[in-house]
């Protein structure tokens, strides 16, 4: 073994560029795998989006218009599964792959081959899941939560969907293990945990959530599988089981899952706001502790999804108060983002616009979440469009907006070219206007009593549904603009080459390497000054 310090052992025995197959199929490079993850999630975002378009087209007017009810239910189910497991989660893993090693000064992820395995499982998992749409009986139609007994009564798709979710879970667990090993083991010398940038922090905590709950989901769907095919009675009251038990096990996964999709978004936004405010992140340590508190609380609130299912009163009260507690650390975060901007020297490039949009609209979703947390109120809201409006505010204007912000923020670092700022701003404003047109009226629909997951509705709901559908089509079309901006940036169509530090207010190790980031970075551990970090000098 080499004994001189400051070298990287690249065990490939050659320095020439790897072949296409070697690079994209057998690769170990975190940037390539990150790119694969991001492209995959973009494709899934478009597929899941197309399903949403079908849903909104059917709901444009009352009465049955375009698809039959069975297919409509398959669309709502598949839209959720594709967006959650195919679009949002892999997109954040893609960002983690690209940015974590750059931010902590590591040459790659800790377990690069495992990394490639985590990615390559996903296309096969979605091949299985999407193929059910073409099977006899169609795809799963009982909602993405797969509640028994309904989910056990559908056609051939069930076994395929369960195994596909097993594969996605396996991929997530291995990805999470990799991220934990990377963050705990690969940081540049001198980068203590409490000096680490906030995005790796949020991902570290997210990774623990993933390892904690993905196996529980695997257990829950395994029980579904054995109930359907191997005579067990986990969810069958006649045999002493309980369908509600499935809901408990599922939501023990399901609630942390929503934080799995939002904590990395917090991290992205916490990187972007300081850059365009030209100030260090306000309350860095409070941000870290708030993230950890949210993660802890996420394990003890799951039954707020089940208030109407018939739980003992003590249970309802416990889960109501525990859920409301989450507003405290989340409030700390929103306060810190606003305080970071306070008296800052603000500019409004596209990443910043998306980040500010995130803060405002995620907070709206947070407030409707608080409303849903109140047990007696939830009796009214449960399973209505109010819930749909709530979780789309936190997932679309929350997670997806943060992903867009991150994509614009780091695209120049990835490609070496500036994206088209004018089109970026158009993308932001079109998305923001249409997404509110799409989801805000759904609050009113829900409060008025329109149930979710129905293809037809009372004519009293017509106007708001039509507005919502128009918003949906507009939002969908606006995302094609995003695809164009990414493509043209990657092709260098703007012609504007960027330097190492793409944004003049940006701090952190990722801005010390060239743009585009070379195939291998930090082959020797970097030295850095605490003042170079995005959250300022935290050495006190």
């Amino acid at each position: 073994m080499a004994t001189d310090t400051a070298t990287t052992v690249h065990d490939d025995g050659h320095e020439h560029a790897p072949s296409f197959i070697d690079r994209w199929f057998f690769g170990t490079n975190h940037k390539d795998i990150g790119t694969l993850y991001l492209l995959f999630s973009l494709a899934m975002f478009l597929i899941g989006g197309a399903m949403a378009m079908i849903i909104r087209a059917e709901l444009f007017m009352p009465g049955m218009q375009i698809v039959n009810p069975e297919f409509f239910n398959q669309m709502t189910t598949m839209h959720a599964l594709v967006m959650i497991f195919g679009a949002v989660m892999p997109a954040f893993v893609g960002l983690a792959n690209w940015m974590l090693p750059l931010m902590i000064g590591a040459p790659d992820m800790a377990l690069p081959r495992l990394n490639n395995l985590s990615f390559w499982i996903l296309p096969f998992a979605f091949l299985i899941m999407l193929s059910t749409l073409f099977m006899e009986g169609g795809g799963p139609a009982g909602g993405w939560t797969l509640y028994p007994p309904l989910s056990l009564q559908q056609g051939n798709s069930m076994a395929f969907v369960i195994f596909a979710i097993h594969m996605m879970g396996l991929s997530s667990i291995m990805g999470a293990i990799n991220i934990i090993a990377t963050v705990l083991n690969m940081r540049a010398p001198g980068m203590d945990l409490l000096k680490m940038p906030i995005f790796p922090w949020t991902w570290l905590i997210t990774a623990f959530l993933l390892i904690g709950v993905m196996p529980v989901l695997a257990g829950a769907i395994t029980m579904l599988l054995t109930d359907k095919f191997f005579l067990t009675s986990f969810f069958n009251a006649a045999g002493g089981g309980d369908p509600v038990m499935y809901q408990h096990i599922f939501w023990f996964f399901g609630h942390p899952e929503v934080y799995i999709m939002i904590l990395p978004a917090f991290g992205v936004v916490s990187e972007i706001i300081p850059t365009f405010s030209r100030k260090p992140l306000f309350g860095y340590q409070a941000m870290v502790y708030a993230t950890a508190s949210i993660a802890f609380l996420s394990f003890i609130v799951w039954a707020h999804h089940m208030f109407t299912v018939g739980m003992p009163l003590g249970g309802e009260l416990f889960f109501m108060y525990a859920t409301m507690l989450i507003a405290v650390p989340t409030g700390v975060k929103v306060f810190n983002w606003v305080s970071t901007m306070w008296q800052g020297s603000l500019t409004f490039e596209t990443p910043m616009l998306f980040a500010i949009g995130f803060v405002v609209m995620f907070t709206i979703g947070g407030f409707s979440g608080l409303m849903l947390a109140i047990v007696p109120a939830d009796y009214q809201y449960h399973d209505t469009y109010f819930v749909v409006a709530h979780f789309h505010y936190v997932l679309v204007t929350g997670s997806v907006f943060a992903l867009m912000a991150g994509a614009y923020y780091w695209l120049p670092k990835w490609t070496g070219y500036m994206y088209n700022e004018t089109l970026g701003k158009w993308h932001f404003w079109l998305s923001t206007i249409f997404v509110n047109l799409l989801f805000f009226p759904q609050h009113f629909l829900g409060l008025a009593g329109m149930p979710r997951r129905i293809p037809d509705y009372n004519i009293a709901f017509s106007d708001f549904n039509m507005i919502s559908s128009i918003g949906g089509f507009g939002f969908g079309l606006a995302q094609l603009l995003f695809v164009y901006v990414v493509w043209s940036c990657a092709r260098g169509r703007s012609g504007i080459k960027v330097g190492d530090r793409v944004w003049e207010g940006a701090r952190g190790l990722e801005w010390t390497v060239p743009s585009p980031a070379p195939h291998h970075t930090f082959t020797t551990p970097p030295k850095f000054d605490d003042r170079d970090l995005a959250h300022g000098d935290v050495s006190h």
């Binding site: 096969f124 998992a125 529980v216 191997f230 009251a237």
Partner: protein
């Protein structure tokens, strides 16, 4: 490894490998094939499942052979060693959470849902209107006695014996580890061999018990919620013991080939951790499934 702190001077990035993609394809074939089998499509399901299993076995063989040869060539540094350790620890943690789901189902059924069916607490009306006459008890196959009458497996026969076997295997494995650290290879092989034997005997008794349950007691996976939790918990545990035993056998051959040195034997330690994890799961299982 005496000091697992990362060696900050040298980074190691492994070369590209075809095994991750091969593994994904194997997983795809196996699970898609299995799903076809479940839906009764044997013509497609059988070949896919077996091809998938074969591809996965080849993947494990090739991937580990690759890693072992790199390890033997001394390419790995302390940082890599630490990453492997983290990987194994958190993999075991994820396995614990998988078992937790099934233990959660067991506790939920015993403590909450079965008493509710029997009219205790909030379940009074459910019991009167739907399951009148059902009295909560454990074990149960539910108000409709799904699966018919069944007998029980007592805790103090084979299960107690199996507990002793696994506890003993934990001891023999630790002795083997100490011998490895002392550099006594023959001792390692003997005690590791004893561990494998104990694992195999455990599996034999477990199989014997299953046959007895199915044939003589009519206790099956279909015996209501008791049969479900009993067989799923002991079954998944048995699968893990099987995997652990295979891993121990691989490690035994690696010891024979002299792959491990006194202070560098992560492969051995990883398998030992896994075996202890399987041990602990059994203890919890013995208490909550058999004794209580």
């Amino acid at each position: 490894m005496a000091n697992p702190a990362p060696d900050p001077g040298i980074y190691y990035v492994p070369h590209s490998s075809k095994w991750p993609l091969v593994g994904s394809i194997g997983l795809f074939l196996m699970l898609a094939g299995f799903a076809n089998l479940m839906n009764g499509n044997k013509t497609l399901g059988m070949p896919m499942t077996f091809a998938g299993i074969a591809v996965i076995l080849v993947m494990f063989w090739g991937w580990f052979r690759n890693v072992i040869s790199e390890s033997v060539r001394g390419l790995y540094n302390r940082q890599v060693d630490f990453s492997f350790r983290m990987g194994m620890i958190w993999f075991i943690f994820s396995e614990i959470m998988f078992f937790a789901a099934f233990f959660g189902a067991l506790f939920y059924a015993r403590v909450l849902s079965v008493p509710w069916l029997g009219g205790i607490g909030d379940g009074e009306l459910t019991n009167i209107y739907i399951w009148s006459g059902f009295e909560a008890a454990w074990p149960t196959s539910g108000p409709e006695q799904v699966g018919g009458e069944y007998g029980l497996i007592g805790a103090w026969g084979i299960p107690l014996l199996n507990t002793m076997l696994l506890l003993a295997s934990g001891v023999t494995l630790t002795i083997a580890h100490h011998a490895l650290k002392a550099g006594q290879r023959t001792q390692v092989l003997i005690w590791l061999g004893a561990t494998i034997a104990l694992g195999a005997i455990f599996l034999y008794f477990q199989m014997y018990e299953y046959v007895h349950a199915y044939r003589d007691l009519n206790l099956t996976l279909g015996s209501g919620v008791y049969g479900s939790t009993f067989f799923m918990l002991t079954g998944f545990h048995g699968v893990h013991v099987t995997l652990g035993t295979i891993m121990l056998i691989v490690i035994w051959f690696r010891c024979l080939k002299g792959h491990f040195s006194k202070d560098d034997h992560f492969g051995f330690e990883a398998v030992a951790w896994y075996w202890h994890f399987v041990d602990v799961v059994w203890l919890i299982l013995f208490i909550f499934v058999y004794v209580l």
